[in-house]
């Protein structure tokens, strides 16, 4: 029993990392007042760029950087459209998602089935020997360790730095920024692009550390999961982290049970995180949107 728990929790961290990066990126964008459904697209281009550059250069770290750049560039399209052309955020996000889907299918065909160096699990000395926790947390790939830092770092940055304050103000009261001579549009655009870069890192992690492969549409809705996760987490980075592991655990449960001879329909479990999110939304009701950044609430009405 206890090794089942360890298996599921380890799997939760393994499978939740890519979603977490994307959801942290979405948190950035939404705290600045922009919903980006194109996160799915940013993850996809990040996954392809990460895998392709890793294959071409032989360095998964270069791949990770390329994934961030690609994800950020795709998000730039969303930023330009919604911030400067004032187009509808939902429709533009979906369009950007299709753009990512198309671009990766156009340029990705050559990398299907091709081998590339990826991130392998590295056990952290000492920490990985801690019973239970060591196995669950400290026998992963390096990008996962980065993700442990990313969520607290983002939390601190949003809360305690000048940049974080400006970003939050762009999402709460853009007028105030105007009065003080800042350009809220610029701040929002930057937040969307940075968010896309994080989603790209998530995608690159998915391709180079989780799946060790590239195939068309490999993110399979993880970007959309990330978007709903941010609402589930009420726009708080640390809750995003917890929520990502919840999704990861649901992904890991069926294979873990199957390995023990208990056969379970994977799809019943796959629906679980969505149902949990829906249940939480139903219970919290209006309070969910009360926690939302002020400017974001306008998008949702």
């Amino acid at each position: 029993m206890s090794d089942l728990v360890v298996d599921v929790l380890t799997g939760a961290v393994r499978g939740g990392t890519a979603i977490m990066f994307a959801a942290l990126g979405e948190t950035l964008a939404e705290r600045a007042g922009v919903v980006n459904l194109g996160t799915e697209g940013s993850m996809l281009v990040g996954a392809l760029a990460g895998y392709a550059i890793a294959a071409e250069t032989g360095s998964p770290w270069a791949g990770l950087a390329a994934g961030a750049v690609a994800g950020g560039l795709l998000a730039l399209v969303h930023a330009v459209m919604v911030v400067w052309r004032r187009s509808d955020q939902f429709a533009t996000g979906l369009t950007v998602m299709f753009l990512g889907l198309g671009l990766t299918s156009l340029f990705g065909a050559a990398y299907v089935g091709r081998a590339a160096p990826g991130f392998d699990p590295v056990a952290v000395p000492l920490l990985s020997d801690v019973p239970l926790l060591g196995e669950i947390l400290f026998q992963h790939d390096p990008v996962t360790y980065l993700s442990f830092l990313a969520a607290p770092l983002l939390w601190w940055w949003l809360r305690s730095t000048r940049g974080g304050l400006l970003l939050r103000t762009a999402g709460e009261r853009a007028d105030v920024l105007h009065v003080h001579g800042y350009r809220p549009g610029l701040i929002r655009g930057a937040a969307v692009v940075a968010g896309g870069a994080l989603a790209g890192i998530g995608g690159a992690q998915l391709a180079t550390a989780y799946a060790h492969a590239w195939f068309e549409g490999m993110t399979a809705g993880r970007g959309f999961i990330a978007v709903s996760l941010v609402i589930f987490a009420a726009w708080r980075p640390l809750w995003v982290m917890a929520g990502s592991y919840l999704f990861g655990a649901a992904l890991a449960l069926a294979p873990a049970l199957q390995a023990r001879g208990i056969s379970l329909n994977q799809f019943a479990l796959d629906a679980l995180p969505f149902l949990i999110t829906l249940a939480i939304l139903a219970i919290l009701g209006r309070r969910t949107l009360r926690a939302a950044p002020e400017e974001l609430r306008r998008v949702f009405t």
């Binding site: 911030v83 004032r86 939902f90 198309g102 065909a109 853009a174 329909n265 939304l281 969910t288």
Partner: protein
């Protein structure tokens, strides 16, 4: 969504002449040309000849066979676009077309498994509509009772719907005689939609066009349509005027869901004949974009649905003629959408 402090100049009809159709046409042409130019650059980067690729695509799109394909692709898109248009009038964002289409197809297929004979097809259509309405109803109930935003819940329900369908076709409904691919048993001939005489096009397109006209008529010429528009314009004002806003929202969304469910079932009974993974090919999302492209006006949305259907069919020719993956066409579709949305529309003053 940047806040503007400078007052927006008010266009006076006396001073500034109404921008002519020529200018609008110019903007449209420019936007489309820009999209095609970027797509060409990408094709060159991929080592394909953009001129022959695009010419092949257009030529194959206008062949008789392709026109039938386009009409068949457009039929569910038109219905699913109406499923966005109708709730949008009441101010609801139905991003859940995809899930409602899937559940519609699932409900239709479920009825098809147990009912045979001439009653099967009508019952399947009804079941599909009810299934879609149920799925949309879940989201709108959360909105009306506890105030959860429907854009979020409809989006989440898309994934639940997909899992429901996959669950069914991998286990309880799996065709035992089928090949390795998980799918339900194919519908019998009498359960399929009849073809329009002399063509390969199924009768679903008639249903779709009738639905679009009905939606147009409802929104334009009925009291119900007017109430929806009032609610969408200002829910608070609607409430104070004595309209039952909750019930209106509920009705609009249920009708929308029913239309999307119908889209799913005609796609099943007209084209696919069995449930399989990848059944919907993003019908719900593409229809959302079609509706939005048409600024949520029903009849232009029909045109937009046909345009996007044509582009999708063009993608199949890309694969056959140029050896590019069919999904490549999503690039062209997205570029055209971005160009049209960002550079031809009237800037909203919000």
């Amino acid at each position: 969504m940047t806040t503007q402090l400078t007052p927006t100049p008010v266009a006076s009809p006396l001073v500034s002449p109404k921008p002519g159709y020529l200018a609008a046409a110019g903007r449209w042409t420019g936007a489309l040309a820009g999209a095609i130019a970027i797509f060409s650059v990408l094709l060159i980067a991929k080592g394909a000849n953009p001129v022959t690729t695009l010419v092949d695509m257009v030529v194959s799109m206008t062949s008789g066979f392709s026109i039938e394909q386009i009409v068949m692709k457009a039929a569910p898109l038109v219905l699913a676009a109406m499923a966005v248009v109708l709730p949008a009038r009441a101010g609801l964002a139905n991003v859940g077309g995809e899930g409602q289409v899937i559940i519609g197809a699932v409900a239709g297929a479920g009825v098809g498994l147990v009912v045979s004979g001439p009653a099967a097809l009508p019952l399947m259509l009804v079941a599909g509509a009810l299934g879609g309405a149920l799925w949309a109803g879940l989201a709108v109930m959360l909105r009306v009772t506890v105030g959860v935003n429907e854009a979020v819940t409809t989006l989440l329900l898309n994934y639940v719907a997909l899992d429901v369908m996959l669950y069914l076709i991998y286990e309880p409904w799996k065709d035992a005689q089928g090949s390795g691919q998980p799918a339900t048993p194919p519908l019998s001939i009498e359960q399929r939609l009849p073809l329009l005489s002399g063509t390969a096009v199924h009768a679903g397109i008639i249903l779709a066009l009738l639905a679009a006209v009905a939606v147009w008529f409802t929104l334009r010429h009925t009291a119900f349509g007017f109430r929806l528009a009032v609610t969408g314009g200002n829910p608070e004002a609607a409430r104070r005027a004595g309209l039952r806003v909750g019930r209106l929202l509920l009705t609009a969304m249920l009708l929308g869901g029913a239309l999307a469910g119908l889209a799913g079932v005609i796609h099943l009974a007209g084209v696919e004949f069995k449930l399989r993974p990848g059944l919907t090919t993003n019908i719900g999302y593409i229809a959302f974009l079609a509706a939005w492209l048409a600024r949520h006006n029903p009849l232009p949305a029909v045109a937009a649905a046909f345009m996007l259907a044509a582009i999708t069919v063009g993608g199949d020719s890309l694969q056959l003629d140029s050896g590019l993956p069919a999904a490549t066409v999503n690039v062209l579709m997205a570029l055209i959408l971005l160009a049209v949305l960002g550079w031809t529309a009237k800037r909203s003053s919000s």
